[in-house]
């Protein structure tokens, strides 16, 4: 049978970011999928050689505009490890608050894009409309909507005043209410299920074997969430990883959907427990040594490796992002799908190419 070769991307409306897939299909069934990346590779790990470890906070925060704050937090935590300092407790809690806000905005953004991928425009609009509240919260509390730059080595730069806390909680309540209203659409709508249930199945074994991370892994039934390791202040908060077992796109979207609600809960918990303390720990000297730090990004486990020999600049900053880890599993599930499922499945892993390629 004749094959149709589809150059899917790099410039493609369903892809917010450039990535390329060469798809060979027959009657729109994918027989072979070959990925190509490199359209967003900037090479910013190398910038560590010309930016000092403080400037690097801003650089790694710009690895990705969606999960930016958590990048910076993870990097700072790694450098703090090398320096042997601990941020003050309030900073740890604030990092949790902003991290979870980021997770909410990232997941809401994703849910919208995902809805768009199967042609549900009004749902996309709705999720993004809800998301704007979080953006407002970030702008008001941290001074910028997207890249909030609150982290510094040793702690955070910004604080939440009591009024701000109250306001944030009320905004978060609103978001929770609105999101919960869409639960039925995401989980029970006939057309949505038709497009997602059983599409792009990744079994538990495959997920582990291929090194999947985050919701991709949890959607396949593996309860693995870096927050369980208790970094920042997560150890002091009640937290259960969200797990689904079917391993299909529907399961993955459910994981993210439920994580939005879980994030709301974590924000509330953190706010309730917010301790009083300094915002940042002062330190002297330059880092010397190496450290590995893992945190949970919206897309899964993020790993920072930082090495320094005490000079002005760091020796090496290595970022292993969750999407990078999720590419092999993605390649494994593509063959056999329909062309129309490609956006759904590609998005169900929640690709973030700027993270992947750095």
């Amino acid at each position: 049978m004749p094959r149709t070769v589809v150059p899917f991307g790099p410039q493609h409306p369903v892809l917010p970011e450039p990535i390329h897939l060469t798809l060979h299909c027959e009657d729109e069934i994918i027989k072979e999928a070959v990925p190509a990346i490199g359209y967003v590779h900037r090479g910013l790990e190398k910038l560590a050689e010309i930016r000092d470890h403080n400037q690097m906070v801003q650089v790694v925060e710009r690895v990705c505009g969606i999960c930016s704050m958590i990048h910076a937090a993870a990097y700072c935590a790694a450098v703090e490890q090398i320096l042997g300092i601990k941020p003050p407790p309030r900073a740890e809690y604030l990092r949790v608050v902003w991290s979870e806000l980021h997770r909410m905005h990232s997941h809401l953004l994703w849910l919208g894009l995902y809805a768009d991928a199967f042609g549900f425009e009004s749902l996309f609009m709705h999720f993004w409309r809800i998301r704007e509240r979080i953006m407002d919260v970030m702008e008001a509390t941290a001074g910028n909507r997207v890249i909030i730059s609150v982290n510094v080595v040793g702690g955070v730069r910004r604080d939440l005043t009591p009024e701000q806390q109250k306001w944030v909680l009320s905004e978060v309540d609103w978001v929770e209410k609105e999101v919960a209203r869409l639960k039925d659409v995401m989980m029970n709508d006939y057309t949505v299920k038709k497009r997602t249930v059983g599409v792009g199945i990744l079994s538990k074994e495959q997920a582990l074997e291929l090194g999947a991370a985050g919701p991709m892994l949890r959607g396949s039934g593996v309860a693995q969430d870096m927050r369980m390791t208790g970094y920042h202040a997560y150890g002091e908060l009640g937290f259960e990883p969200v797990v689904e077992t079917d391993g299909d796109s529907y399961a993955r979207s459910n994981v993210r959907f439920r994580e939005v609600l879980a994030a709301v809960d974590l924000v509330r918990q953190a706010m309730a427990k917010l301790p009083d303390s300094e915002l940042a720990t002062a330190y002297k000297g330059r880092p010397k040594g190496e450290a590995v730090m893992r945190v949970e990004q919206p897309r899964g486990e993020l790993l920072y490796y930082v090495k320094s020999s005490g000079g002005k600049y760091l020796d090496r900053v290595r970022i292993r992002t969750p999407t990078f880890a999720n590419i092999p599993p993605l390649c494994a599930v593509l063959p056999g799908l329909e062309l129309a499922d490609i956006p759904v499945v590609v998005l169900s892993m929640d690709p973030c190419i700027s993270c992947t390629e750095r």
């Binding site: 049978m1 004749p2 150059p7 790099p10 027959e26």
Partner: protein, 643 residues
């Protein structure tokens, strides 16, 4: 005058064929074929001015050929023919053919020597009404054009095969003689004659299909032979049965009234069955598909003007006899089912000739369905479809043949972008497709009539509705693919043998002009036959209480639109602002039709049609389709005979 005409139309082709066979020089052969074609065409046109008439004019006079009674010649020839078929059956070790040939021989002998009282018959041997005329025109003009086309085609065909000795003499013998047999068949008023010519076409097609003598050709030829022998046997049984019921072999008599007795309906059912086999209706479609191995002119001939048309001619001819009976309904169901089933099968094909084959069967199904419905509008539809289908389908086969010789493939995937290489042929093909499926052209006129006249029959209409939608799918994607070239290359003229180009041009022109003339064809050809005028011809359109089709106004509007569109195309071509196709931003600057893919390597973009093989695949669909078709056939006899 009349006997000369009949002689030219029926006997001349046989003689010309023999001439080709005996005088083996290529030039002579070409001359004979072209001349015969011309004479046949001229004769058929002259026939037009004589119609209707019977021959001999005096019913009591007996027709003779060179002084010998024609009846006797036919009788002897009949047995000879069966003997030849028997011979082939034995030679190819096919028990079915042998058994059927013996059965037919026995029945024929029983009929000739047991049943018939050999008194001089009191009815004319040939009756030429407008239906016969339509058929003769198609056979003699379209058929002749195909024979002419075959001259350069076969030369090239044999060139590819590197044969030690040319087999063309035999080929043209059969090809040209075929036309004579068909002419005889459609004009015969005597079932015995009809049977004879019917069997001649069977034999001719067998010989033509097996012409290349490859293993597959022989296999398919044998299959065609046994399936058609089945039809021959059914025809023979039917004839015997009719004779025993009515005591006559006169066709005009049989169809002069409606029959309602179970016995007659079963007999007529057998006739229809014979028609189904010949017209390759499901479940007999496989022989016609197998026939695709033959050189393309053969396919063109079998599909457009001869052979399969004999089958539908039979069904349509006898339609008045079973109109308004359960048999009629059953025939309509069978036809509609074939229409739908083979249209669906065509979707799964990428072989251009197979698509054409399925489409032929599908359209024949439509004709059969109309015959089964049997109302005046339905018969009108049937006749119009016969005409327009012959022209367009003949054209399309010739196009495929030409393209095949040009690009070395008959696969529609390989025909993508043929416009870049063979623009004229591609355009003609496009025109052929358009005349097949779109208004205001004749095929669609016929389909419209078919749908409107079967609107009263639930199952039939549902199948027709589905089938016609599927039809659009497989034609349109083909036509679109032909044009699939990048950029705006200059229109290159394409050189072609005159004998190739002329038939293409004439048929293409004919398809368009005939469509334009549809209202007049209707009032000239159809009205005299059905002796009714279900449609009023007004303002260049056809109207009935149930609907209206403004042929001429649509043509005019279409022409204006076409003119504007062509003008836009010219402008676009001359502006030279061409742009690479959209390929997600990575069109390769270096390699045409490619993009820069993984690892920075160029990837050539290929595209393929959808064949929906999971549903419409031949292997998937054929068993179910055949099963259902057989069930319908059983139903047909049951309905006809029992209720």
């Amino acid at each position: 005058m009349l006997d000369t005409l009949l002689f030219i139309l029926i006997v001349l082709p046989f003689l010309a064929g023999l001439g080709c066979y005996v005088l083996r020089a290529e030039g002579v052969r070409s001359l004979i074929v072209v001349a015969t074609g011309g004479i046949l065409a001229a004769a058929s046109v002259m026939l037009y001015f004589q119609t209707p008439f019977t021959y001999p004019v005096e019913a009591s006079v007996q027709a003779t050929l060179f002084g010998v009674s024609l009846d006797e010649i036919i009788m002897v020839a009949d047995f000879l023919l069966l003997a030849v078929i028997l011979y082939f059956g034995v030679r190819h070790k096919n028990a079915i053919i042998v058994a059927l040939a013996i059965l037919q021989g026995a029945l024929g002998a029983y009929l000739e020597f047991g049943l018939i009282e050999h008194a001089p018959k009191a009815y004319p041997t040939f009756v030429i009404d407008t239906l016969a005329l339509v058929m003769v025109l198609i056979i003699s003009i379209v058929g002749s054009l195909i024979c002419v086309f075959a001259i350069p085609y076969m030369k090239e065909h044999e060139h590819h095969l590197h044969l030690p000795a040319s087999k063309q003499p035999r080929f043209f013998l059969v090809l040209v003689a075929f036309l004579g047999a068909m002419n005889g068949l459609v004009m015969a008023n005597d079932l015995a004659y009809f049977y004879f010519f019917f069997e001649v076409t069977t034999l001719c097609s067998f010989l033509l299909i097996g012409h290349d003598e490859t293993e597959i050709a022989t296999k398919n030829a044998v299959r065609a032979l046994w399936m058609n022998s089945l039809g021959g046997a059914a025809l023979m049984i039917g004839i015997v049965w009719i004779y025993s019921e009515l005591g006559t072999l006169e066709i005009a008599k049989v169809i002069s009234q409606q029959h309602t007795s179970a016995a007659m309906l079963v007999a007529l059912g057998l006739l229809c069955f014979a028609g189904f086999t010949k017209a390759a209706q499901m479940p007999f479609q496989s022989w016609l598909l197998g026939a695709m191995v033959a050189p393309t002119p053969v396919s063109a001939l079998l599909h457009s003007s001869t052979m399969v048309k004999a089958g539908v001619y039979l069904v349509v001819r006898f339609a008045p006899a079973y109109a308004d009976t359960n048999l009629g309904l059953a025939v309509a169901l069978c036809g509609a089912f074939t229409f739908l089933g083979t249209a669906a099968l065509a979707v799964g094909q990428s072989n251009g000739k197979k698509i054409l084959a399925y489409s032929t069967i599908s359209n024949l199904g439509l004709i059969v369905a109309c015959a089964g419905i049997g109302t005046p509008t339905a018969i009108t539809a049937a006749i119009l479809i016969i005409i327009f289908h012959a022209v367009s389908k003949g054209l399309l086969f010739l196009c495929v043949g030409t393209i095949e010789h040009g690009i070395g493939s008959r696969d529609i995937e390989d025909m993508r972008g043929v416009y870049g290489k063979m623009p004229v042929t591609a355009l003609i093909t496009m025109a052929g497709v358009v005349t097949m499926i779109l208004p205001p052209f004749g095929m669609l006129l016929g389909k419209w009539m078919a749908i409107e006249s079967s609107a009263g029959s639930l199952f039939v209409i549902v199948m027709l509705a589905l089938g016609s939608a599927i039809t659009v799918l497989y034609w349109a994607r083909w036509a679109g693919g032909l044009m699939s070239v990048e950029g705006g290359e200059k229109f290159k003229t394409e050189s072609q043998a005159a004998l190739t180009r002329a038939p293409l041009m004439i048929l293409c022109f004919g398809a368009v002009v005939l469509s334009f003339l549809a209202p007049w064809i209707y009032s000239d050809m159809v009205v005299p036959l059905i002796k009714l005028s279900p449609y009023a011809v007004a303002a260049g359109g056809l109207q009935s209480g149930a609907g209206s089709f403004a042929v001429i106004p649509l043509f005019i509007v279409g022409l204006i639109g076409f003119g504007v569109a062509i003008n836009a195309l010219r402008k676009a071509r001359s502006s030279h602002a061409f742009d690479a196709p959209y390929m997600a931003g990575i069109q390769s600057p270096a390699v045409a039709g490619a993009y820069t893919g993984p690892m920075n390597k160029p990837v050539v973009v290929t595209t393929g049609n959808y064949y929906l093989s999971a549903v419409f695949g031949e292997e998937k669909l054929t068993p179910y389709g055949n099963f259902a078709a057989i069930a319908l056939l059983v139903l047909m006899f049951a309905l006809g005979g029992l209720f």
